[in-house]
Symmetry: C2
Subunit: 209 residues, 2 copies
């Protein structure tokens, strides 16, 4: 029992990720999605996108990266990708959180999970770049199926979306960006983005540099 208890403590700590809410709503639901169900969905998206992954990508490791990548949010909460100020401070706080939470797991297990979390953050391996592409694409895919829900709620323009998610998606999964770029153009013509100077953007999201 003494060797099992730290694992139980760890998995119960992870339960808190179910309470971390994101900017995107699940399709057809009034509530916002949480980071736990998001992590499941992007793991499934990575598996589904395997035919479009660059040849050297190990999908099993991508899945592990995606399962752990948001766990730091248990202490910090989710931050919409379009927030510009304070990014470094938030990342440092997430890093401290990840060290605390994965530190609950004894032996090599916690260190391995923290290394996966850091690999995602560094975005320096093909797996981490593919994982970033998948993570950035998913809320866009939900918005494209939901009349631009979070873009409109937060006053995010088409140009801003393209500038923010285009480079990482293109870097990690070029075919996915080719698809999304065309869909985002269609959505722009449909008026599914925030206005350039939307009040929501001014109050909820800090100014771009």
């Amino acid at each position: 029992m003494t060797r099992m208890q730290p694992i139980v403590d760890f998995i119960l700590e992870l339960d808190k990720l179910k309470a971390v809410t994101r900017a995107t709503r699940p399709l057809g639901l009034d509530r916002y999605e949480n980071s736990a169900e998001h992590s499941w969905q992007i793991a499934m998206l990575a598996v589904s996108l395997e035919p479009f992954a660059p040849g050297e990508v190990d999908i099993d490791r991508v899945v592990h990266l995606l399962l752990v990548h948001d766990i730091g949010e248990i202490d910090t909460g989710d931050t919409i990708v379009y927030a510009e100020d304070g990014w470094e401070a938030r990342k440092a706080a997430e890093r401290a959180a990840a060290a605390r939470i994965f530190g609950l797991l004894p032996g090599a297990g916690g260190a391995q999970l923290l290394a996966l979390w850091q690999e995602f953050e560094d975005a320096a391996t093909p797996e981490a770049r593919f994982a970033h592409a998948v993570d950035r694409a998913m809320p866009a895919l939900l918005n494209l199926a939901n009349a631009g829900q979070s873009w409109r709620e937060h006053g995010i323009t088409h140009a801003r979306v393209v500038a923010r998610i285009g480079p990482p998606i293109r870097a990690g999964c070029p075919a996915l960006w080719s698809y999304l770029e065309a869909r985002l153009d269609q959505a722009n013509r449909a008026g599914w983005f925030g206005a350039r100077d939307g009040a929501a953007a001014a109050t909820r999201i800090s100014q771009e540099p």
Copy 2:
């Protein structure tokens, strides 16, 4: 774009798993958990339990089994494990649902995911047995941290829990059952289970054979 669209259709269909609710509540939240966030949590539990997995178990495949195992519930909803009647009919409905949903994915991808789903159902490989152990243990671990919440809400007795989850957990991960058996005994002494003839059991859960 034409090759990418079926993958997008598939991942948006999977979004519906976020709306499938289970009998267990996340710790500290008023709502019930959904099968999407549950799938993420048990994938993390499997990874964390790797030191206690039987030697031949491939944890990467366990993670894949757990990520897909509840997807049939998109059409059928979740059924508490203590429901006894109609199990075969529900399983047939879930099988049809899995075939429909994984059939959205073109090429080999959908067939591979359906094969994983079926492998979990069959529980004939060490990976599937380990996955079952993890899946059955997680709601018990949440209940043990939550004063027996779903056991009490549904009037499930200690004997019934032991009879239902003991064999699959022991078969897939003996060390996990040794731990849980002792914790369940403690919980029984604490009064965290339903009474033998609880009204909730009589109305919501069918009779044991």
